[in-house]
């Protein structure tokens, strides 16, 4: 059979316009939604109804949008953590563990206690944030050090350390700080909580029931900080140089060993901050399963955002919405299906950045 037209795929020989990657990613998400709808229709569902429900459950009102943002908050910080490491081609798969250790270290402020509940609240929260970052940085230091000094593959070490971090947490919440035999500590006193909009409901009626907390501001500040580091700072230039060509970086006199450790620690610190924000802003105690895999979703977020810190925020909101929707829609696997398809689409859309497809009429 002869087609009346010819489709040819050719390698792009010149640069694509700057807006193309963004457009592609957006199209990929739209197509992913369409495919999901198709699958839904095939199994007898009503895609339009699900879509309406999805919308109302995630962005439909200020309350649901706040839920979405609450889920997006840790994703922003973890996504940034991964983006920072990936920029230097360090494959930190350990954000999950760094998140847990950040949560643990932040909890120490409450549980040891490092600061009494009567201490000034800003001081308490700042200490918790710093402790969370220290915890995460420590957990980033281990694979960073091993990679820098002994060239141990950071993918393996950071991945395995996730389990160590989770078990470490378990030891403390099962054995030491267990609340009546449950695998959780007692609820933190309110002075250790990140302020939520709901706390101001008495002054502003509209804030009633809005659980959005200060952690989201941490995330935004972190995004700006990461952007500034990449675009304006000397260290960011060094990270880019090492990431692009370590040999050239060494030739330019850079200390690669030190930078590997520093970047892994910085990445860990961002994930640790997410852990702090989550226990102080949402869970209000240290317990099991404080993360439904944020550390791993962060990898996807960073990748979909093409390591751009501001895009990380947008992608995090989308994925936050997916998590919220997964809670609301039955079966809950639907949101995961959508997540998977989005990832697949965005990765495949990369092909179109490198190749162009032209359709010509057959001669």
């Amino acid at each position: 059979m002869r087609l009346p037209f010819q489709i040819s795929v050719e390698k792009r020989t010149e640069d694509y316009p700057k807006w193309l990657p963004a457009l592609m990613s957006l199209l990929a998400v739209v197509i992913a939604f369409l495919i999901s709808g198709l699958i839904l229709a095939l199994v007898g569902g009503d895609p339009a109804r699900v879509a309406r429900f999805f919308w109302s459950a995630t962005f439909g009102s200020w309350a649901t949008f706040s839920d979405t943002m609450v889920k997006a908050t840790p994703l922003i910080m973890v996504g940034l953590a991964c983006a920072v490491a990936f920029k230097m081609r360090l494959w930190n798969i350990g954000a999950e563990g760094q998140f847990y250790l950040g949560a643990f270290f932040a909890s120490l402020v409450v549980l040891v206690p490092i600061l009494p509940p009567e201490a000034p609240k800003p001081l308490i929260l700042l200490t918790m944030a710093v402790m969370g970052m220290i915890g995460g940085a420590l957990w980033g230091f281990v694979p960073g050090f091993l990679k820098a000094k002994f060239n141990v593959n950071e993918i393996i070490t950071s991945l395995m350390l996730n389990y160590v971090a989770i078990l470490w947490n378990n030891f403390w919440i099962f054995d030491r700080w267990s609340e009546g035999g449950f695998q959780m500590t007692a609820t933190f006193p309110r002075s250790y909580w990140l302020p939520r909009l709901a706390d101001y409901a008495r002054e502003y009626r509209a804030f009633a029931g809005i659980t959005l907390h200060l952690g989201v501001v941490f995330g935004l500040i972190a995004a700006i900080a990461v952007w500034w580091i990449f675009q304006r700072s000397r260290w960011g230039y060094e990270i880019k140089l090492i990431g692009d060509n370590p040999q050239a970086a060494r030739y330019a006199g850079l200390n690669i060993t030190r930078n590997i450790i520093l970047v892994m620690m910085f990445s860990g610190a961002l994930a640790g901050l997410a852990g702090m924000s989550e226990i102080s802003g949402v869970v209000h105690r240290l317990q099991e399963r404080i993360s439904p895999g944020y550390g791993f979703t962060g990898i996807i977020v960073a990748w979909l955002a093409k390591l751009n810190p501001f895009t990380v925020i947008l992608v995090s909101i989308l994925f936050g919405a997916l998590i919220v929707a997964g809670r609301e829609i039955q079966p809950s696997g639907l949101a995961q299906l959508l997540q998977g398809i989005i990832l697949f689409m965005v990765i495949s859309s990369d092909v179109l950045l490198r190749y162009k497809v032209s359709i010509t009429r057959a001669a």
Binding site: R234, W235, Y237, K240, L241, A249, G253
Partner: protein
């Protein structure tokens, strides 16, 4: 139809890329059993034309005939099926696999179980037939560049190629290896193969080719002329469209104080075997010391030791400051600039902009850096100034380094290194693989550094370059300096003897004995 004398006929080939007309109605013919040189400057469209013949690009218009039969290639596979094999300038080999494994890669046979022994023997037989010897059991990374090239040629022969395209095959080779390659090419032709030899080196083309086609800016300026009777000057003019000055002018100038003092330096190469075995030499201010030698005799390692990239024993002093085994940063601070052998893998960051590449060594200092931030405005202005001053051809300073041609990338690297007003400049193969125009400007820049009072260590495999630029020439062999001679008084025979392992004293003794 195979009674045609032509193995390949390309007629009125037009290849258009967005914004560029790479080939403009090009005609090209390859006779059976000949070596046809395709000559032209970088960017003249040689590789593009040949990539079309090898099935990598499709011409916008034009006809390609192979053995008299019109063909349309959609992929390299189609070209291979017609007996066309191409050896690219940058080898396409898997470093961790053996020669045999690389040759078999991508073929339908063997399917699942690889009986390497059987295939090793087949390939040995092929080696015997064409006189292309490589240890088939060696992993690619263990082979020299020349040997890797032989693997590439064997790869095409194993696939049954009758028409071989070699894209600048000599660019990466040492003089000795070049001679071997030439011999190989002749034996291939003697056994009925036809060869297209892409080059911009006139003397090689003169030596090996039967006919020649010259391209300039995508157009043919000489079509299939027999090589006999054509002078070097004439070829050069067809290639660049003007007379080429073969010798750069060098002013006589007395050398100053010793800047670089190397004493008894020993070092290992990347395979862990001794590469430098007690090297001692001095380079003075305002002097170019050339290092001659066949590739792989310790030149690269010497440069790496001086610039702090390779650990060594012995003493390396710059203006009296000990630098042996110091980190690269110390050498940079001491005023050592380095034009590395490997432009793309060591000298530049391919996915960063020209700006980011030019500030690689200056970003720590004001006004570009202030310790914490980088002033992008100053950085761009700095890159802009270098782009202007060194005539770097690129759309803007935002252009990515990997988009630059070899000559322009080398100018970026040289501009960066020279802009720091170095005390010492270590230049390794600075003109390798560049076209005539770029070579000239790079050589001028080196001489300018000499005039400005820098000490220059020039490591090159181009003897012509060493003779015309150097004040003194040291010859290195098997990690030892065989002798150092004044360039003006040196004769090529003596250098050649030293390059093959005879010490200068021995040569002089023999001469005395003879008289």
């Amino acid at each position: 139809m195979s009674d045609t004398p032509y193995a390949v006929e390309m007629k009125e080939i037009v290849i258009r890329f967005p914004g560029v007309l790479a080939n403009d109605h090009v005609n090209f013919t390859l006779k059976q059993g000949e070596i046809h040189a395709l000559l032209g400057e970088n960017g003249a469209g040689k590789s593009t034309l040949m990539n079309a013949l090898a099935g990598l690009y499709r011409p916008t218009s034009g006809v390609i005939k192979v053995m008299g039969e019109a063909v349309q290639f959609h992929s390299p596979k189609d070209a291979i099926a017609k007996g066309i094999g191409m050896v690219h300038q940058h080898f396409m080999l898997v470093p961790t696999q053996t020669a045999t494994e690389n040759i078999l890669l991508g073929l339908p046979e063997p399917r699942f179980h690889v009986d390497l022994k059987r295939f090793d023997e087949q390939i040995l037989a092929l080696q015997q037939q064409y006189g292309l010897f490589v240890d088939v059991k060696s992993k690619i990374w263990q082979l020299s560049v020349g040997e890797q090239q032989r693997v590439e040629i064997l790869k095409t022969l194993y696939r049954g190629a009758d028409i071989l395209i070699l894209d600048e095959p000599t660019a990466v080779l040492a003089p000795q290896e070049i001679d071997e390659l030439m011999a190989t090419l002749r034996s291939l032709v003697a056994q009925g193969k036809s060869i297209i030899f892409i080059s911009h080196k006139l003397h090689e083309v003169e030596k090996v080719a039967d006919r020649i086609t010259v391209l300039r800016k995508g157009k043919v300026t000489a079509e299939g002329l027999p090589i006999q009777g054509l002078g070097k000057q004439q070829l050069a003019q067809m290639m660049v469209g003007r007379d080429v000055i073969f010798r750069v002018e060098k002013e006589a100038q007395p050398a100053g104080d010793v800047v670089l003092a190397v004493r008894d330096v020993q070092a290992l190469n990347k395979k862990g075997t001794p590469a430098l075995r007690g090297v001692s030499l001095d380079v003075r201010s305002g002097e170019i010391l050339g290092i001659a030698g066949v590739a792989g005799n310790g030149q690269s390692e010497l440069a790496e030791c001086i610039t702090g990239l390779r650990p060594c024993s012995g003493s390396i002093r710059i203006d009296g400051v000990e630098l042996a085994n110091a980190p690269p940063m110390r050498a940079i601070k001491a005023g050592v600039a380095h034009v590395p052998e490997d432009r793309t893998h060591v000298g530049s960051a391919p996915n960063l902009s020209i700006t980011d590449n030019t500030i690689m060594k200056q970003y720590r200092e004001a006004p570009i850096g202030n310790g914490v931030t980088i002033n992008r405005g100053h950085a761009r202005a700095f890159a802009g100034r270098l782009k202007e001053a060194y005539d770097i051809l690129a759309p803007s300073v935002r252009t990515l380094a990997r988009k630059l041609s070899g000559g322009n990338l080398q100018k970026v690297i040289l501009a960066r290194e020279i802009s720091g007003q170095p005390r010492m400049l270590v230049a390794v193969q600075p003109t390798r693989g560049l076209d005539v125009g770029a070579i000239e400007s790079i050589q001028r820049l080196l001489l300018q550094q000499r005039a400005a009072g820098a000490a220059v260590l020039l490591i090159s495999e181009e003897l012509e370059e060493l003779f015309s630029l150097s004040d003194r020439i040291a010859v290195i062999f098997a990690g030892q300096i065989m002798g150092i001679v004044e360039a003006a008084a040196a004769d090529i025979a003596t250098i050649g003897l030293m390059m093959t392992g005879t010490r200068l004293e021995e040569i002089r003794q023999e001469k005395e004995a003879a008289t």
